[in-house]
């Protein structure tokens, strides 16, 4: 018997350790059969898988649109689609990738699946709300699909007024779809915050919360504060189109710049909604595959919150050429530089974690190394763009496009792919083919650089974004970029095919194939229906690699009631008997 002593007013808790079985006979995948059981399940794991399937579908749709764009740009004049179709393609590529893939991907897929297990809970705090948010997402994305089929949208994903309030097409319905999807992500964020606050198992104090949990917490705060502003902006735009209320229409005394302020008040924090969960994945993977205690736990945790906070003060850097006051531009420029500090803190902490660690170059870590390389470039070019004078030169050029794709695809999507490769064995109990996964990773990395490095050069040379035609001197670089896009696409196809093969043909993975100390790896794979048969008592943190593996058996309070949720338990380690 190991005895864990509760710190303050709670009496001694007898903790019996128990070793979970490797394979659970009943798991969340086989507990109920049929499509209906999936569509009506309030189990956080099944909802996570529903999100995974849907977001992957939209990722592929958005990806195909990107490839069509790149084919069109093969020649300086028209290649195979007309200019209007081209405008619709880049609008929908942006809108689908951002609102239907990037925003929900990590919080709704991996957050849903992994977070409750990491806090030792049996489900998210509000399971029915969780399912409801999935259906809101599904309805919103169906409305978006409807908009594509009925007229299309050519405003760009930013819906700038006054063009968006006058142009034809299905702007109103797409905007309404985005509005509904926004509510879905608000409800997911409500659930995540409630789960982290109220459902942590005894022993999981704030200082033992996983860094993935911290990053989701910071993300949820941004979603809660920013998304409603987008909602009201889109509502105003809709009213503008239906009733001509004139708030953004200069002809009626309105102010189109106000739309930009509203839009970027959401959409700048939104890029942190997209990237901060990726930071959480990086922390998990770096610690696991270097077998080291994470360096600077609190620095990483708090810097997520700092990014969330500063992110609300920098929206004006999207509007340097909109005619806003030059004093405002200077302040926004300065504040934008500040974002580099917490981000740099994170990068250096990850590097310090890897320093002298026992690094094993498995696929998830390869993706994260790619992340560190690409995200650093994306971050530095972001600093360049925040510089007033330089931004006026490269504003609305391919430089911005390349910067954005470096942080979003090179950062966020690499982290998401790393996270999927990391948690796939936990989700399906099967291991994918390592060699194929590494080939996919390599192709994605090379293809990505081939696609977007030339765009930096074109941008500096003055190639404007969203142009259908371009001058001949850019053709070589455009063609390199197009070839890169196809390499990138093949890389993603290989990775996804490898995942699907793993479900059917993969070897059984076991409970903890990576030897991780994190809580989700201490239960069987695939996860049992209720995650834990008993609410566990957690004694060690998720990154305690200085402790022997045997210490990471779960505790179970044996006398009386377990301490309150989230209560601190100071465990005096005594000899353990099985």
């Amino acid at each position: 018997m190991a005895t864990a002593e509760a710190s303050s007013n709670i009496s001694k808790v007898q903790v019996r350790r128990y070793k979970p079985e490797e394979y659970a006979e009943h798991n969340y995948l086989n507990v109920a059969k049929g499509l209906w059981s999936w569509l009506t399940s309030v189990d956080h794991k099944r909802i996570g898988i529903l999100y995974l399937v849907t977001t992957t579908f939209f990722f592929l749709v958005g990806g195909v649109m990107a490839l069509l764009l790149r084919i069109e740009l093969w020649t300086p004049a028209q290649t195979f689609v007309d200019a209007n179709t081209y405008n619709q393609l880049f609008t929908l590529h942006g809108a689908i990738m951002i609102f239907l893939f990037l925003v929900p991907s990590v919080p709704a897929v991996l957050g849903n699946f992994i977070l409750p297990i990491q806090v030792g809970a049996k489900d998210m705090a509000l399971p029915r709300l969780n399912l409801f948010s999935y259906y809101l997402y599904a309805i919103g994305s169906l409305i978006a699909v409807y908009s594509i089929l009925h007229g299309g949208i050519d405003t760009g994903w930013t819906f700038y007024t006054p063009y968006s309030s006058q142009t034809g097409g299905a702007v109103t319905s797409l905007v309404f779809g985005v509005f509904v999807v926004g509510f879905s992500s608000i409800l997911t964020a409500v659930n995540i915050i409630a789960t982290i606050h109220k459902l942590r198992a005894p022993g999981i104090t704030w200082s033992k919360l996983s860094l993935f949990g911290w990053s989701l917490y910071a993300t949820s705060i941004i979603i809660i504060l920013a998304t409603p502003v987008l909602a009201i902006t889109l509502l105003l735009l809709t009213m503008e189109r239906i009733f001509g209320i004139g708030i953004f229409d200069p002809a009626l005394g309105g102010d189109p710049i106000l739309f930009q302020h509203f839009f970027w008040f959401y959409s700048h924090p939104a890029v942190y909604i997209m990237i901060v969960p990726g930071f959480g994945i990086v922390s998990e993977i770096v610690s696991t595959f270097t077998r080291k205690v994470i360096f600077g736990y609190w620095a990483i945790a708090i810097s997520s919150l700092a990014i969330a906070f500063i992110g609300f003060l920098v929206w004006g850097h999207h509007m340097f050429v909109s005619g806003q006051a030059s004093l405002a531009s200077m302040v926004f420029s300065f504040l934008s530089f500040l974002v580099g500090i917490p981000t740099g803190i994170k990068i250096f902490n990850w590097l310090a974690t890897m320093h002298r660690g026992s690094i094993s170059l498995r696929t998830p870590l390869l993706y994260i190394l790619g992340f560190l390389f690409l995200f650093t470039i994306g971050g530095f070019t972001g600093i360049a763009l925040a510089t007033l004078a330089l931004d006026v030169h490269v504003h609305d050029t391919y430089y911005v496009v390349a910067h954005f794709h470096f942080v979003m695809v090179g950062g966020m999507v690499m982290a998401f792919m790393g996270g999927l490769h990391y948690w796939w064995p936990k989700m399906f109990g099967r291991m994918y083919n390592q060699a194929v996964a590494k080939i996919g990773c390599l192709l994605i990395f090379l293809g990505f650089n081939l696609t977007f490095m030339p765009q930096f050069i074109m941008g500096i040379q003055g190639m404007p974004r969203r142009y259908f035609n371009y001058i001949d001197q850019f053709q070589g670089l455009h063609q390199i970029s197009t070839i890169g896009a196809f390499v990138l696409g093949i890389g993603f196809i290989i990775a996804i095919a490898n995942f699907i093969m793993a479900i059917y043909k993969g070897k059984k993975a076991g409970a903890n194939p990576w030897g991780s100390r994190a809580l989700e790896w201490q239960i069987p794979s695939p996860v049992p229906p209720h995650n834990f048969d008993h609410i566990p008592v957690i004694i060690h943190g998720p990154y305690d690699y200085h402790q022997p593996m045997a210490d990471f058996q779960l505790g179970l309070a044996t006398n009386g009631h377990a301490p309150a949720h989230g209560a601190e338990i100071s465990a005096e380690k005594q000899e353990t008997e099985e």
Binding site: A121, K122, D123, A125, L126, P127, L129, I186, A189, V190, N191, I193, A194, T195, H197, K198, L199, I224, L225, A226, T227, P228, V229, A231, I232, T233, L235, L236, M239, E240, F243, G244, I245, G246, I247, D249, L252, G253, G254, D255, L258, F262, H530, H534, I535, L556, A557, T558, N559, G560, H561, A562, H565
Partner: protein, 216 residues
């Protein structure tokens, strides 16, 4: 199992240790949602500030068209309904099931009164030709941008009205549950969180009323 009490109440979902934890989680969730609602209206308040700074004389002129008496009655109605919804929660806490139903019914009735008064206000303006934006055709206000004021007025009071309507739906839902005796001192989470929502709707009106009706 040591973590659970021996008898599990019917309302307790499987993943909670006890009723208190379930109650706390739901209440926290509602508070977070209230933050969201605040920011959603915050966008409109932002628009209000921008246009009031742009056209200060317009706001005082146009505000005279709004019926202060109707607005005042509605304010009293909503504050009264906030009181009754609070009393409904209190009744649940002391297990007085009859008073839960009575107080919820009064709240529902007051919410309907608010919407009826709002209906008369709106139709009166429509008769005058006060429509939002391009459809504005009223000549009584001597200002070229008068429609902007009413665009904002209709947006803010309209969105608030939608919230009242949702609240009416929620009150009916609560009444159905209460009449089935589902609420008692051990479980009244829905009453509590709808009450929180209702206070939010109330407090938004308390800001809307002076900003539109009382500035002349």
């Amino acid at each position: 199992m040591a973590n659970h009490s021996t008898t599990t109440p019917a309302h307790l979902l499987h993943h909670y240790v006890d009723s208190d934890q379930q109650f706390d989680a739901a209440k926290l969730g509602m508070w977070i949602f209230i933050v969201t609602e605040t920011l959603m209206f915050g966008g409109l308040f932002g628009a209000y500030i921008v246009y009031r700074v742009l056209y200060p004389e317009l706001f005082t002129l146009a505000s005279e068209e709004l019926d202060t008496i109707m607005g005042s009655i509605n304010t009293v109605v909503l504050i009264g309904s906030s009181l009754t919804v609070a009393l409904a929660i209190k009744s649940a806490q002391v297990n007085n099931k009859r008073n839960i139903i009575i107080n919820l019914a009064i709240t529902l009735a007051l919410a309907c009164v608010f919407m009826i008064i709002k209906y008369f206000e709106y139709t009166h303006k429509f008769e005058l030709g006060i429509f939002p934006g391009v459809y504005y055709e009223y000549g009584g206000i001597d200002h070229p941008q008068a429609h902007i004021f009413f665009s904002i007025y209709y947006m803010m009071t309209g969105l608030h009205g939608i919230h009242i309507t949702i609240g009416i739906g929620l009150m009916i839902w609560l009444l159905v549950k209460a009449s089935k005796n589902e609420f008692h001192s051990g479980y009244y989470t829905p009453v509590e969180i709808v009450g929180l929502y209702w206070h939010l709707v109330d407090i938004i009106w308390i800001f809307l009323f002076p900003l539109f009706y009382l500035i002349d």
